[in-house]
């Protein structure tokens, strides 16, 4: 059981880093605020989740593993609600989502 966890942990961490890179790519290249918000919150939280799972598999004790997972849960709550707050404020302030090719960047 423990050996299986130790075997799977590096792959989980690598997958997490991959998702972080995908989020960074989205933040860099996506055309408007809303798509960048989408890319960042989804990819980063998934990346952090996989990374936390991998690190929790390697953790020294169950309580340490639980604390690492607590960090993930906290970031998940904070960034998902934060994304909603920012998106609705941006919409109310008149930033229009990009709808078709050729429309201007917001």
């Amino acid at each position: 059981m423990t050996e299986g966890l130790a075997l799977i942990a590096p792959w989980l961490i690598a997958a997490g880093v991959l998702f972080f890179m995908a989020g960074a790519l989205g933040l860099w290249r996506f055309p408007d605020v809303y798509s960048r918000l989408h890319a960042l919150t989804k990819a980063d939280n998934l990346g952090l989740g996989l990374l936390c799972l991998g690190l929790a598999c390697q953790a020294a004790s169950v309580s340490a593993a639980l604390k690492i997972l607590l960090v993930w849960g906290l970031v998940l709550v904070a960034s998902s609600i934060g994304a909603t707050l920012m998106a609705s404020t941006a919409l109310a302030r008149g930033l229009r989502p990009r709808t078709r090719r050729g429309s201007r960047d917001s």
Binding site: L74, V77, A78, I81, L85, S88, T89, L91, A92
Partner: protein, 308 residues
Amino acid sequence: MSTFIIGFDLLLGAGLLWLAWQALFHPKPFAAVVHFMAFGLVMALVWVRLEALDIALAEAAIGTGVTGALLLAALGRLPNGATPRLALRPWQRPPVALALGVVLLLGLWLAWVAWQLPRPGLSAEVTAALPESGVRHPVTAVLLNLRALDTMLELAVMLGAVWLVWSLGPELRPYAPATALPGLPALTRLLHPLFLMVPAYLLWRGSHAPGGAFPAGAVLGAGGVLLLLADAVPWMQRPDRQPLLRLLLSTGLVLFLGLALGGLLLTGTFFAIPVAIAALAILVVEVAAALSIALMLMACYLYGEPGR
């Protein structure tokens, strides 16, 4: 391995310099403030790298959190627009460049002089005094027993800042948000248990590991700021609760003074805490100091006296 660490250091240093440069010279004030918040974040990583975990905790809570919130709240009230660039006439450029060069050289020279100073340090003395201080973590021992006078004066400075902010006039009422934000109360409710649990944990850890009253008070204060944002602490504005608020604000300082005078009575020396009660006394003072720091941060955030 060590190449990796050197690369890590270089990246951190380059990031810090870039962020500081942009925080000071980016034309837009909002961008400057966000750069400064990111600067605090990278600074916390630097503290971790330098094995100063107490400072990393305090910087994470205060440098990025509370200072950033203060600056962002102030930005919303300041007239916006890019700040005017400093216009220099052609003949002014050489002397200004000369002055800047001299300043940079002076900074380097001062750092070099400080670097060359003999550094015996006080770690041996602190380690020797640790058994009599009542705690096992040297930084907490220095803060609350060995150099407790500094900490008390620091609380007094903070109270003075609150006094100054409140004396300027009534609380500045916030402008309405751009839209209804139903997520905000949910965020507050979900995060609130953590904002109470984490400071308690940090206080408990402070006696034997990095933690203690300053990070705990800062985290509690940040939680209080979140409550203020969601309008969840109406009692702070009620006129009949003002005496209670003032009492709580000064609790940390008053208990510290009581400890100092108690030491004077019991042992004949100002701030000499008897070993037998040191652990308990430090714990009580730490709890009161954390509570006061949290409330003082919230009080500063109102930018004026509430209930007036």
